[in-house]
């Protein structure tokens, strides 16, 4: 096989990956500011990765009420991501400031 052929095969393989990409790059974002999760409730499709970013001058955490996920303390500008594969409602809070609460509703893909 020539080098040219190898390149062509690699390109095809890469193209296949790109086409497949949308299935595993579904993303959603939650901002943490003024001691609130914003928006406090979001609905996403199963397989979505949710990223929280702390924009407060005070550290916060993202902690699932049932502890399925728990971030470390996020300082200003730090983020935390979690991929939601299983449908259901996930409530969470800041373990440092527990009056801060939010929820992620994960829907099936059918």
């Amino acid at each position: 096989m020539t080098t040219k052929h190898k390149c062509a095969r690699a390109t095809l393989a890469f193209a296949a990956l790109v086409i497949a990409a949308p299935a595993w790059t579904m993303e959603s974002r939650v901002k943490i500011d003024n001691f609130t999760f914003n928006p406090p409730k979001i609905t996403v499709k199963a397989g979505t990765t949710v990223t929280w970013t702390n924009e407060d001058d005070i550290p916060h955490t993202v902690t699932a009420s049932n502890l399925t996920f728990k971030s470390k303390a996020l300082d200003t500008g730090d983020g935390f991501s979690f991929k939601f594969s299983t449908p259901g409602t996930y409530t969470y809070f800041c373990s440092l400031h527990p009056h801060m609460t939010g929820s992620i509703v994960v829907e099936g893909n059918e």
Partner: protein, 311 residues
């Protein structure tokens, strides 16, 4: 420092005297939680008489470097300079938590280095910022030796019984500060058999009364702790967390919160959130400070002086 006019008469027993000095000083008397200025005092009156005097510092947040205070180490150093300049040397200090901002070893190291310059014994309780290292062990290793659970303990000084409580761990979603069953059972046991005339000082990070639950400023199960304290004739509860002076008198219990040495926070409900309050730099030191507490034997109340870093 205490005002003899308040010495007799049961109705006056519930009056907390509290002096604040600003420059030459203002003498405050607080009855039923409503402060009223009695007049300017000079430096001499601010010097405590006999009895036990101790200091409270709080919320030093070493590591904080945002707009509200670019270096919390410098303002802690100023607070400690203030302590060293006191005419009457206090017996010891209590620190009501949030020593560090992010529970980093370097932050605890800096705090210890600066605070040790006061050359006083320090009794600590943790704030939520002191428990955010991954393993939640740095605070306990450094300050919690000999303490129970996550760091509660008691000790006696000059006939006063001091109780340090922890209300910043195992917080529940949607809730407030939390003491927990194990600690409450220990407290009940610790108080059992003590004479009701023993003056009690309780200190913990988050206020033990509902200052402003919408911002999480209160403790879920504090009513149980206060029920155990009810039979005592003199109970003083010292807290931090809210970075401003607040006080309340309820029966024989006086509640008091101290200023931070790092940054001020807004009064309840006056801002969208309780986050650090940015004030013009020349005003910052007026909103930071320390508290000095004097107990005079035979008197019901402890006199509390809140001193800003600058008047």
């Amino acid at each position: 420092m205490t005002d003899d006019r308040h010495e007799d008469g049961p109705s006056r027993r519930k009056v907390l005297e509290c002096m604040t000095w600003a420059g030459t000083g203002v003498l405050w008397s607080v009855a039923g939680g409503v402060p009223s200025a009695l007049g300017i005092i000079d430096g001499a009156m601010a010097a405590p008489a006999s009895g036990l005097t101790f200091l409270q510092i709080s919320d030093s947040h070493i590591g904080f470097d945002k707009a509200a205070n670019p270096d919390a180490r410098i303002t802690l150093q100023e607070a400690i300079a203030h302590v060293k300049a006191l005419r009457v040397k206090p017996s010891f200090m209590i620190h009501t938590g949030d020593i560090s901002h992010l529970s980093k070893t370097s932050e605890f190291d800096d705090a210890d280095r600066i605070i040790s310059d006061a050359r006083l014994d320090v009794h600590y309780v943790p704030g939520e910022h002191d428990f955010i290292d991954e393993e939640q062990k740095l605070y306990r290793e450094r300050y919690g030796r000999g303490a129970k659970g996550s760091g509660w303990y008691s000790f006696d000084a000059n006939g006063v019984h001091f109780i340090g409580l922890v209300n910043v761990v195992n917080l529940k979603a949607g809730g407030l500060g939390n003491l927990g069953d194990e600690q409450l059972e220990w407290l009940e046991d610790d108080l059992r058999g003590r004479s009701a005339s023993t003056p009690i000082v309780v200190f913990a990070h988050i206020p033990l009364w509902a200052v402003y639950p919408a911002w999480g400023w209160g403790t879920e199960d504090s009513a149980r702790a206060l029920a155990y304290l009810k039979r005592f004739g003199s109970v003083t509860v010292l807290n931090g967390h809210i970075h401003q002076v607040m006080q309340k008198v309820e029966g024989n219990v006086t509640f008091h919160t101290a200023r931070s040495t790092a940054f001020p926070q807004p009064a309840p409900g006056t801002a969208p959130s309780p986050g650090p309050m940015k004030v013009p730099s020349e005003q910052l030191q007026k909103m930071l400070g320390i508290a000095s507490v004097t107990f005079n034997p035979g008197k019901q109340r402890l006199a509390i002086i809140d001193a800003p870093l600058k008047g």
